[in-house]
């Protein structure tokens, strides 16, 4: 039988930023509300609330997805990464974060969590993306402040840093 929940109550087990997580929630809960309001992970920003701007992007199995337009139940058994899970446990910034910081590839910062996750997903599959590829990916999300150019350059810098490996 295909009924998963009759009364709307539901348990969802998933991996959140590397940790096995189980939540008791309801079928109507969207992932961004679950993260922000129930788990206090406020780094996932919500703007348009309807899949367009990408400010709320999180990585689901490594691919960017709008958390505002994803039901919590959809991540059952899947791997979810939010901006809070991007830096190393010791607080070292990820190369993408470091590049965004160094390039000032943000202004108000409201798109930044989503842009960084988008860029991480891009670089995981394209270690040396050309400008056109970066632009195609970055075009998934809206940044109203920067004019995008510094974001594109930050992604290029991050790609270079990741290819060259950690400086020792």
């Amino acid at each position: 039988m295909s009924l998963i929940s009759k009364d709307g109550a539901l348990r969802v087990a998933f991996t959140l930023n590397g940790r096995e997580t189980t939540v008791e929630t309801v079928t109507s809960r969207v992932l961004s509300d679950l993260l922000r309001d129930d788990m206090n992970l406020k780094g996932t920003r919500v703007s348009c609330g309807r899949t367009v701007c990408g400010a709320c992007s999180v990585l689901v199995d490594g691919f960017p997805r709008a958390a505002c337009s994803t039901f919590a139940f959809e991540v059952e058994g899947r791997d979810v990464q939010t901006i809070e899970g991007v830096e190393a446990p010791d607080g070292t910034l990820d190369p993408v974060q470091a590049a965004f910081a160094a390039k000032s590839a943000f202004q108000c910062g409201f798109c930044t969590s989503g842009m960084i996750l988008l860029a991480k997903s891009l670089l995981a599959t394209h270690p040396d993306p050309d400008r056109a590829t970066i632009i195609a990916w970055i075009s998934s999300n809206i940044c109203r402040c920067t004019g995008y150019e510094l974001i594109v350059e930050a992604v290029q810098d991050a790609a270079r840093a990741m290819r060259e490996g950690p400086k020792s």
């Binding site: 998963i4 009364d7 509300d33 609330g49 309807r50 899949t51 997805r65 505002c68 039901f71 139940f73």
Partner: protein, 269 residues
Amino acid sequence: MFHSPSARQVARTPADLAPMPLYRPETISEALAALHESGGTIYAGGTDFFAGVRQGLSPKALIWVAAIAEMKGCTIDSNGLHMGALNTHDESVAAPELDAVPGLAEAWSKIATVRIRHQATLGGNLMARRERYELSILLTALGATARMVGPELQVDMPVQDLWQADLEKTPLLASITIPLDNAPMLAYERSMRPTFTQALCRRGQALRCVMATEWLQPWFKDAPLDADAGQMMSGLPADFHDPAVSRAHLVRAGSVFLKRQIARLEDLA
């Protein structure tokens, strides 16, 4: 138009949804049973669903169709190219079967964004029934049919009829079929988006041209291969215009693009 007035009076968000029954069918018949039992709403990739919620959609139950294997994939048989309604845009574009219609994969690869293409489905694109979504335009040009299924009934209807279709008896779009007789090929012009787009299919000695704008349902015109582009475009109905574009411009620019697209298909053929 886009906003229903009632949705504008009160700004809704998904937080307005009440907890509701959730079904995760694995077959079409399970899905139909769930729909019948619950009176629920189909949920596929979710890239449009939440826009619907913001405009007032308030489902009684969710029928999450993502796990229905028989609604995925592409096949070719004597009836044509069949495409499952659950294919994402990425999956469709990557399917080798699409090569049976030269130009289709290329056109399809241009729509939406990297993030959306990974998640948005063919079925959702058509069943959202929004003027600005493009698969209706491409598939109308290709003379495709939609297989709509219900507990007691199954109908194959031309894609352009989906706009007005009564979903009461056949609520689920299972697949799309593009007939392959006479070697169809497609050209698609979307550089004028958001003002308008134009699809052109050549099938043997016949052409079908589709025009669409952000706000208007696609209009199509069949004509013989040697038809005059200007004449074809002058068939645009008198009321085919919207607040962002006049009919005169659609006819004028549409004719130019049509001429170019005819030439493009000539080269392809």
